[in-house]
């Protein structure tokens, strides 16, 4: 089947790839910037789509080739017609040193996407802000929080465990100040 890769949105591509992998017995979870794009209605545009799976790359490669994606090197896949690179970071799905076992599922016309929950998506971005002081990640966390109904107490509890309440308060302050 031919797809209009150039004009497909990240959500559609994620769904298409996820479903195709799933049909072939490969379970994946969408993590990283792709979740931010979806939860922010593309206000933030990731240039890569990150999936985590326990399946080996050797098993993924022929399945993705059916969609025109070639394995570049290591865990990266490229389709010359698609503007997004696919990456398969090493498992498990984790936020800091804690495993993630609760996910969100979104249905689209192109199939189903299993992805991080809203709160875990924000924690994931905040983790990068906590570790590397990455302001872009902070902005992305705010963007997702602004556009969705968020359980802030869950995020605060996590930030406290991480010993990062000070930075969590900066996140909250900017969330209340900034208009996105």
């Amino acid at each position: 089947m031919k797809f209009d890769w150039q004009n497909m949105e990240i959500k559609e591509i994620s769904a298409l790839v996820s479903s195709h992998l799933q049909k072939n017995g490969i379970e994946v979870v969408l993590v990283g910037g792709g979740c931010v794009s979806i939860y922010s209605d593309n206000q933030y545009m990731s240039n890569g789509i990150d999936f985590i799976t326990f399946s080996p790359i050797k098993k993924i490669t022929p399945v993705l080739e059916e969609l025109g994606f070639k394995n570049l090197k290591g865990r990266l896949f490229e389709n010359p017609n698609c503007k997004f690179l696919l990456d398969f970071p090493a498992p498990p799905v984790s936020i800091g040193d804690k495993p993630v076992s609760r996910f969100n599922n979104i249905n689209t016309n192109f199939g189903n996407i299993c992805l991080l929950t809203l709160e875990d998506c924000i924690k994931d971005r905040l983790a990068a802000y906590f570790f590397w002081n990455d302001q872009q990640s902070l902005d992305q966390a705010i963007l997702v929080a602004k556009r969705n109904k968020i359980n802030f107490s869950e995020i605060k509890k996590w930030a406290k465990i991480q010993g990062e309440l000070e930075k969590y308060n900066i996140f909250l302050k900017k969330y209340n100040e900034e208009s996105f």
Partner: protein
């Protein structure tokens, strides 16, 4: 010491170096351990693919450090630290206690 577990001695050296200095770069590691830079890069790539390390660019140099988001980092570092206690003192002095304080440009480094 951890060679059999990690797959090879180069990875062990890289991890010991990161534990000692927090960051490392391929040519630096290559010079210190007298291992071809390709071999070092290959192992760093392997560690990066496994999310054990991450890299950032500093000018034209790619600096590697432990990935703070690696879920087993605390346990891995504890194992590395424990293994390093068994290194001969001479080896620690040569490889893992190198000068890290600043040195003005032009002043020779004492060995």
């Amino acid at each position: 010491m951890l060679e059999s577990l990690l797959g090879n001695s180069t990875i062990e050296k890289i991890l010991f170096t990161l534990e000692s200095f927090d960051q490392a770069y391929p040519t630096g590691l290559s010079k210190i351990f007298n291992i071809p830079v390709n071999g070092i890069q290959q192992q760093l790539e392997r560690l990066e693919n496994g999310s054990v390390v991450v890299s950032i660019m500093a000018g034209r140099t790619r600096l590697y450090q432990f990935n703070p988001r690696y879920p087993f980092l605390k346990e891995l570092r504890a194992l590395i630290k424990k293994a390093m206690e068994f290194l001969p003192e001479k080896e620690i002095q040569i490889y893992y206690k190198r000068r890290t304080r600043p040195r003005k440009k032009g002043k020779p480094y004492e060995v």
